[in-house]
């Protein structure tokens, strides 16, 4: 097979374009996902900030908390609220983190595949050059 550098450059441009376009699309999707995650976390924090005074007010109306009043029920209720908030934030952040890991892993795999494509192409090109060199040598010897 004759060696034609243009073929390999065209293939390289194709691989790179495909990798770049897919990567941009994935990056944009990842950006949107992170945006959504940020907004969801902020919503969650806002909801807890809004819920905290209401919880204290409920215990206060029931007389479980107030000046010189501190009941165990209020303390456990408030700690439960804090633990629930911490658990929800943790789960949410873990979800966001795992989603980011999946994205990063996918991008790494995609980059690996892209590099493999280029490396395979380079190996093929080197082999083609070697075969072309032997063919040229044979042709030259045939002319003697």
């Amino acid at each position: 097979m004759a060696y034609n550098p243009a073929d390999y450059e065209a293939r390289r441009r194709g691989y790179t374009q495909q990798y770049g376009a897919t990567g941009a699309m994935n990056a944009y999707a990842n950006f949107l996902a992170r945006q959504r995650g940020t907004r969801g976390r902020q919503d969650m924090l806002r909801q807890y900030e809004e819920a905290q005074p209401k919880v204290v007010a409920g215990y206060s109306r029931r007389g479980l908390v107030g000046p010189n009043v501190k009941s165990g029920i209020f303390s456990r209720g408030l700690q439960t609220l804090a633990k629930q908030r911490a658990r929800n934030l943790q789960d949410y952040d873990q979800g966001q983190l795992e989603e980011q890991r999946m994205y990063d892993l996918g991008e790494a795999q995609r980059l690996e595949a892209f590099k493999n494509q280029l490396a395979d192409m380079e190996s093929e090109k080197a082999q083609t050059i070697a075969n072309a060199a032997r063919q040229l040598y044979a042709n030259r010897m045939g002319m003697i």
Binding site: V56, A82, L89, S123, I129, R134, L136
Partner: protein, 410 residues
């Protein structure tokens, strides 16, 4: 007595008048020439033989190999001689006429004989010159000059052709070497580019990845402290969740490490593949070069062998022609009575003194041949023996005849 007169017709027939017949006192009978009708021979040799017979009848058989029984001129000369000798001073008119005619014919025949002998001498001299030239041409080896030039041309052409073959082999080897260098350089450049690419593009995207557990959420410590509530239960839960998250991150890191290891193995495999491909390329190219060199060497050997064969054939052909020409010359010289060795007939020469070198040779006597003589040499020797006396005295037939005449007092 008859009235018929003696006449000589144009046809050469001599008619004698019967009156011319006379009594021969020596024979005691009457000569009768009426029946003598002789055809005058027109052949010069015949006339010459007749003259010789008349001059020296006893030598005639030795001079002429032919029988003289039907030689009418001889009979006529003998008859006239007998008649004249016995007639004394009394000649008749017919006898005078006959003598006059005979004298005329003798003079004419003598002139013709002289001319023939002169022509014979000229021919012999010319033949001797030709023979001498042929001998000189043969002995000096001049005849081989053209063949020597041909052999020299063949040798020079052979050298040129051999040089051409070796030059072609040299060019072929140069081209093989240059072609190998170019092909090797091209293939090596391709593999070098591959190796450089692989070195500069390590395909391990997992190497830079680090699995993190993420940040832990706050425990609302300030808020709880404001109400005098402890955050310890919240902190415990957060630490437990964080521990779980760290375990998940560790699992993820293990996954990354596995993938990274696979990627590194792939890169190593690719590098080994490149090296193996390059080694295979170099080995194959070297084998091809060896094959081409072998072909060139074989082609050179075949070309040189064919050239040598052609040169040998050409030399053989030239040498064969030279031998053929030498044999033809030798045969012609031998048949003409010449000498091939240049040492003279039996005289010998210093160059043939074989006794000096220890190789005693039984030499034949002059006029004899070696026992190894060929039939051609035997015939040539016989001819030489016949001509030897005349050649030795440098005499001609005319001189021989004059000598004979002198011996007879004429």
């Amino acid at each position: 007595m008859s009235n018929m007169e003696n006449t000589v017709e144009e046809s050469g027939v001599i008619r004698w008048d019967p009156a011319g017949k006379g009594f021969n006192p020596y024979t005691g009978v009457e000569n009768d020439f009426r029946t003598v009708t002789s055809q005058i021979p027109s052949n010069t040799n015949t006339r010459s033989r007749a003259i010789i017979a008349e001059s020296a009848p006893e030598l005639f058989p030795a001079v002429s190999g032919t029988s003289n029984q039907n030689d009418y001129w001889l009979k006529l000369a003998q008859a006239l001689g007998g008649y004249g000798a016995g007639s004394g001073g009394g000649h008749s008119g017919a006898t005078k006429l006959g003598y006059a005619e005979l004298a005329y014919k003798k003079a004419k025949d003598a002139q013709e004989r002289q001319d023939a002998l002169a022509a014979l001498g000229y021919d012999r001299a010319q033949s001797a010159r030709i023979l001498g030239g042929m001998e000189n041409y043969y002995r000096s080896g001049e005849y081989g000059k053209g063949f020597d030039e041909l052999l020299d041309m063949i040798t020079k052409q052979g050298a040129v052709s051999e040089s051409g073959v070796r030059d072609a082999y040299g060019r072929a080897m140069t081209n093989i070497g240059q072609g190998y260098d170019v092909a090797s350089g091209l293939g090596t450049a391709g593999f070098n580019a591959l190796n450089q690419y692989l070195a500069q593009n390590q395909n391990n995207p997992y190497a830079s990845m680090q699995a993190t557990a993420g940040t832990a959420p706050d425990a609302l410590t300030s808020y709880l402290s404001a109400y005098g509530v402890s955050d310890q239960p919240v902190q415990g839960q957060i630490q437990a969740d964080q521990l779980q998250a760290q375990q998940g991150a560790a699992n993820y890191q293990n996954l990354i490490d596995v993938l990274s290891g696979i990627a590194q193995q792939g890169a190593g495999s690719r590098g080994a593949e490149s090296q193996m491909a390059q080694l295979l390329f170099n080995t194959g190219l070297g084998q091809e070069r060896a094959g081409y060199q072998g072909q060139a060497e074989n082609a050179q050997a075949q070309a040189l062998a064919a050239l040598q064969q052609q040169l040998f054939q050409s030399r053989f052909g030239v040498q064969s022609d030279r031998n053929s020409l030498a044999n033809q010359l030798a045969q012609q010289i031998i048949q003409a009575g010449g000498n091939l060795s240049g040492s003279g007939s039996g005289s010998g020469s210093g160059n043939d003194n074989d006794e000096n070198d220890g190789n005693a040779v039984v030499r034949p006597l002059p006029g004899q041949l070696l026992q190894t003589a060929t039939p051609q040499e035997i015939v040539a020797n016989q001819l030489a023996n016949l001509l030897a006396p005349a050649q030795a005295q440098n005499s001609t037939a005319e001189q021989l005849l004059a000598e004979l005449n002198a011996r007879r007092g004429r």
